[in-house]
């Protein structure tokens, strides 16, 4: 009980020290309501950064998605994702009779907020890749939950893919205005609109 709080505090402090963890809420204030945050994905550090920019009260109810095979591989990784971050585990290996989104749906039914990276994998090209369909399916099943786009800036410089130790460089997370699935909007159009909302935050006027 105490240990994970200490670990959480230490991690948030570390993230502050290394990246400054600046949060800019330009389209939506931080608020204790159920939300789905979606952001560009460039580094393992992305989640920690988002988590550190959230107000402390929101951290415990805002959960990341973690790949089960990787994040439960060692006792420490498992403990970190389960106790500190309260992660939702998904399996990357597709089994026929199982919906991969099932754990996410369950978490949303419980009233938790989620942070997802719809690109699916880390990109280092600058421009985010095309979004995967998961976001669309969640938006379809939970039309009342606001979707908040977020742009994570500079983090690829802190910890490029393949590096382990982060370099201290200031980063920011910009949260945009909430969006929802429009009536009769098809999957392709929605995913493109969501991606454009994330990219638009990069040059947003602050």
């Amino acid at each position: 009980m105490i240990l994970q709080e200490v670990a959480g505090f230490a991690l948030a402090t570390l993230a502050r020290l290394i990246t400054g963890a600046q949060g800019h809420w330009i389209g939506s204030p931080p608020k204790a309501e159920q939300r789905i945050y979606f952001a560009n994905h460039q580094s393992h550090f992305d989640w920690v950064l988002i988590w550190a920019t959230l107000p402390k009260d929101l951290r415990s109810t805002t959960r990341p998605i973690a790949a089960r095979d990787y994040w439960t591989a060692s006792p420490f990784k498992h403990w970190l994702t389960r106790e500190v971050f309260n992660a939702v585990y998904v399996s990357r290996v597709r089994v026929d009779d199982e919906d991969p989104l099932e754990p996410l749906v369950e978490a949303l039914r419980n009233g938790d907020s989620l942070v997802i990276f719809p690109e699916g994998t880390r990109s280092n090209k600058g421009e985010p890749q095309a979004f995967k369909a998961g976001l669309y399916h969640l938006a379809e099943q939970f039309p009342e939950v606001p979707l908040i786009p977020a742009w994570i800036d500079n983090v690829q410089r802190v910890m490029p893919k393949g590096e382990v130790v982060p370099v201290p460089i200031l980063c920011s997370v910009t949260f945009g205005a909430p969006m929802q699935l429009a009536a009769a909007e098809d999957k392709r159009a929605f995913l493109q609109r969501a991606r454009a909302a994330v990219v638009a935050l990069r040059r947003a006027e602050r």
Binding site: E163, V167, P168, I169, L170
Partner: protein
């Protein structure tokens, strides 16, 4: 004024406390009183900016005083942390690439702590050459091992420059604390001396440039920097220096001269840092945050980064410490 020299160290400290915080308090009272009056909108924004600056000044002064009063160890730690934060801001503003990762790690987590350990343990001979000689040789090697020739010289030079200014330059401030002047423990007062002198020069130059509206020397870089304003800054630094001479090992004339040198270096350093920020595409200056929030600390410590090494070495050379 003559008797001030004979006071004990603790009386000196008390007197300085009253002077500094009294001055700040007075400024704050006047500012708050002015805030009650009605103002034109454009004046209002200037006023708001000034209030923010004043708040930053309070925080900085209080932090500095606590560290200073707590002794050399805490002060060294504070400056090490300031160095870290300023260097972080500097690196954020420059364009480094993936290949620089290892060199940056070395600069942040090896060079920076080692430099401050050398200061703390009074290894002054090694301290003065550690970054210009050893880190200078080691950092490009690490960058070259990063296997990326794109703009190599530019990237390496930026990291070197940042290390020199933010780490080497700033580490000379706590070094003053530990400098021994003929057995007297007045190194601590030297730190206060340089901080106040440089701050005095900065404030005087800023006020002078607002009042006088002279032609700027380097319009593209700073619209407020003119030779006349710079001179006023130097003069103010000299006056602050003389006012503080009793707490330092200097004679009044020496205090005036050294104050002028340190103040002049500091304000020129500020100009250089402005050029750097212009180059990095940062429009706002002080306080207001950019995309990553990388504005604020660097421009506040820049004058010290430039003034402290010059001050340290000239004092050391002149007095043969």
């Amino acid at each position: 004024m003559m008797d001030l020299r004979d006071l004990s160290v603790s009386q000196h400290v008390g007197l300085l406390f009253v002077m500094i915080f009294g001055g700040l308090f007075l400024t704050t009272v006047i500012t708050v009183a002015k805030g009650f009056r009605e103002m034109a909108p454009e004046k209002q924004s200037t006023y708001e900016r000034f209030r923010l600056e004043l708040r930053a000044l309070w925080i900085g002064t209080a932090l500095f005083w606590i560290a200073w009063a707590a002794g050399a160890f805490v002060a060294t730690l504070l400056f090490a942390l300031t160095s870290f934060l300023a260097f972080r801001e500097f690196i954020t503003l420059t364009h480094t690439r993936r290949g620089d990762h290892r060199a940056l790690l070395a600069a942040f987590f090896i060079v920076l702590p080692l430099q401050y350990i050398l200061v703390g343990t009074r290894h002054f001979d090694l301290f003065t050459v550690f970054i210009p000689v050893y880190a200078f040789a080691a950092l490009p090697v690490l960058a070259a091992l990063g296997n990326d020739p794109t703009r190599f010289l530019e990237r390496t030079a930026k990291i070197q420059w940042g290390t020199t200014v933010c780490v080497y330059g700033l580490s000379h401030v706590p070094a003053l604390l530990l400098l021994n002047f003929g057995g007297d423990d007045n190194g601590a007062f030297l730190v206060l001396y340089i901080v106040l002198v440089v701050a005095g020069a900065q404030i005087a130059q800023e006020l002078a440039s607002r009042r006088m509206r002279r032609r700027p020397v380097a319009r593209q870089i700073s619209r407020s920097f003119s030779w006349r304003a710079w001179g006023v800054g130097i003069l103010a630094a000299g006056i602050v220096g003389v006012l503080m001479y009793w707490a330092t090992p200097f004679k009044p004339l020496q205090a005036l001269f050294i104050g002028c040198v340190a103040g002049g270096c500091g304000t020129l350093g500020e100009l250089v840092m402005k050029a750097l920020k212009r180059d990095a595409g940062v429009r706002h200056w002080g306080g207001r945050s950019s995309v990553t929030g990388a504005v604020g600390l660097l421009d506040r410590v820049a004058p010290l980064c430039f003034a402290a090494p010059v001050f340290f070495h000239s004092v050391r050379w002149y007095f043969g410490v």
